[in-house]
Symmetry: C2
DNA sequence: AAATTAGGTCAATAAGATTGACTTATATGA
DNA sequence: TCATATAAGTCAATCTTATTGACCTAATTT
């Protein structure tokens, strides 16, 4: 058994500890706002797709609407997000970040990016690209990720469609 | 902004979806035994360090003893682990996998390894090594990981020490 | 007018974790 | 030997995140 295979035995530990480290700083930062991991994810996806609807968001996150409802309301109460009824169909609730929300999301993203950047810089070579490639392969099989990708492309060209 | 930096904006999504994919199959497999993620992690660490004590295990996992107590008892009741009082100090409870436990742990590890192996093979080059390097950097800052490494080295040479 | 859809809400349940307090058994040091 | 410390177990209350199921309103579509 070679060195690389040896380390495959420790996949679980790498993922477990790696994910804990990756989320540790943002978790501490958001604590003072009384929010948690799930709220960060929500902020993240609304930042990527402003105007995303509730149904789209829960499809992306792969959770139920009951699971989404409470944190979403908390984020609204705390002034991080706001919603507008859909322009063409008022049943849809379109979600946007407030300025406050944009700032928080950026702050959290920045910490995670800098943490990873430090590691990529230290290791050098093609470590960043290789790591991203592998994680994208894992992510690519998720229905939520597929849905997100489609949404991302659609919504990016939506302005044009709407103004036709 | 170049391609690589672009992808750094999506770190959270890569980790979130990646971790979900990574744990999806084992989660399905252990469901039929009525156990969950935390039980898999416990099995994993006992497999790596047979004879680990309760206190050592909760230090590695970075959880409280109350959080460990219940799943540990379940695993004992279901016949996946057993314990022996410490040879030199009977207060210590040393944890071991039963044959059943060994088999389950192996089965779960195998699924995760094969999933990753498929990706590494597809991507080729030094993707595996690079990915492991990055995850090790993230893991290395965890107190639980440090403690685990020390334990791993100590317990591996313990037989010699005990037979002095 | 009826059916469908988007979203909200209530209730019950569950896993996984926390803090705090207390008990038992064992070991150790003054 | 007695006091203290340590390893582990347990009880209780609480919390977050999630689930399934049922039911409601409002808006839209057929």
């Amino acid at each position: 058994m070679n060195h690389e295979e040896d380390e495959l035995n420790e996949l679980l530990i790498l993922f477990y500890f790696g994910y804990r480290t990756f989320t540790e700083k943002p978790n501490q930062m958001i604590q003072k706002y009384g929010i948690q991991r799930v709220h960060h994810r929500i902020l993240f996806f609304i930042a990527r797709i402003p105007g995303i609807t509730v149904n789209e968001l829960l499809t992306v996150l792969e959770v139920t609407k009951q699971a989404l409802n409470h944190p979403l309301r908390q984020l609204t109460e705390k002034g991080f997000i706001l919603h507008k009824p859909g322009e063409f169909d008022k049943r849809y609730k379109q979600l946007y970040l407030t300025d406050r929300g944009v700032n928080l999301e950026r702050e959290l993203s920045k910490v995670q990016q800098e943490q990873m950047k430090t590691i990529f810089t230290k290791l050098g070579g093609n470590h960043q690209e290789a790591w991203v490639d592998v994680m994208k392969e894992l992510s690519s099989v998720r229905p939520g990720q597929k849905f997100f990708k489609d949404l991302f492309l659609t919504k990016n060209s939506e302005t044009n469609i709407n103004n036709k």
